[in-house]
């Protein structure tokens, strides 16, 4: 189990629900959530992606004092992997609802790697990994499985 923790907080859930255009009151109003049978305000089905905020090694976040590959005066630089990596698949399995007040820890389990020819003749490299998210008591809350696709360095495949 990783040492990092992801506390599920109400303002963060509200911010996320706004970003995805969901005004379902179970994501913002404790009374509405309880009336719907939940213990507290619920987190949207994909909210656990936001645990990236709590991952100290997450590469897609600018950090003070460190170079960032996005644009400023100039358009930035190619990132050796991230510029050519796309999300291919995402699957969640829910063991119980994620609600405000939960504090999750997670463990990443690497899976298969395979290659496939792309529509433009380049090579796509796929990576599969699972992430198990557990609450403070160690109970499994949800399992995520992601597949990413990385295009070969020389192709402009999209």
């Amino acid at each position: 189990m990783g040492d990092e923790q992801f506390p599920v907080e109400s303002l963060h859930v509200l911010t996320f629900a706004r970003a995805i255009g969901d005004d379902n009151p179970i994501f913002s109003d404790r009374e509405a959530a309880r009336a719907a049978g939940l213990d507290d305000i619920a987190a949207p089905l994909t909210f656990v992606q936001a645990s990236a905020h709590c991952d100290p090694d997450y590469p897609l976040r600018p950090r003070a004092g460190e170079p960032w590959f996005g644009s400023g005066r100039e358009p930035g630089t190619r990132h050796p992997e991230l510029t050519r990596t796309l999300h291919a698949e995402q699957h969640f399995e829910y063991h119980r609802p994620l609600v405000v007040g939960d504090v999750l820890s997670w463990q990443v389990i690497p899976g298969d790697t395979w290659t496939k020819e792309s529509r433009t003749g380049g090579v796509l490299e796929f990576r599969d990994f699972r992430t198990e998210y557990r609450d403070a008591s160690g109970e499994l809350v949800l399992t995520s499985r992601s597949v990413t696709a990385m295009t070969g360095p020389a192709t402009g495949d999209r």
Binding site: F16, G21, P44, T46, L60, S71, P75, E89, H91, R158
Partner: protein
């Protein structure tokens, strides 16, 4: 909640004329600040895309809102899918959801299977998914 039947369909317009600002809003909420989604200059000149495009996870998250409009979020057991095509600023996305199976659990409840297809204004599928939910009091719902 109403009762369900196999073949029953639902649809929802998820976003009309997707704005770049919403991509920034999602970046902030999710923590994914990939410049491919937030930095048009970088997306064009470095990554050689026509411009910024939507996070796949934003499309999936929006798609999931129909599921939790139709069933209780605590009943959802699985939700997943593939990202089929990129989503661009200006796109209008609509999700089409269908009930593909209902299985009586023998204890008064039922497992319900869904297929979900999110398409843009040109009917290009951008996300193809499936989901399942377990409704504990399905039989009672069905009887009323």
């Amino acid at each position: 909640m109403t009762s369900f039947s196999v073949g029953q369909r639902f649809s929802k317009v998820l976003v009309e004329d997707l704005k770049r600002t919403q991509l920034v809003q999602y970046a902030g909420a999710s923590g994914d600040f990939n410049p491919l989604h937030t930095d048009d200059m970088h997306a064009r000149e470095i990554a050689e895309f026509p411009g910024v495009f939507g996070h796949g996870m934003l499309t999936m998250a929006m798609t999931g809102t129909l599921l939790t409009d139709v069933v209780g979020i605590q009943d959802v057991e699985r939700f997943g899918g593939r990202f089929k095509a990129q989503v661009w600023p200006g796109d209008t996305l609509t999700v089409h959801m269908e009930i593909t199976g209902i299985t009586d659990d023998g204890q008064g409840g039922a497992g319900v299977e869904f297929s979900l297809s999110t398409r843009n204004q040109d009917e290009v599928e951008v996300f193809a998914g499936t989901a399942s939910a377990h409704l504990e009091d399905y039989a009672e719902e069905h009887a009323t």
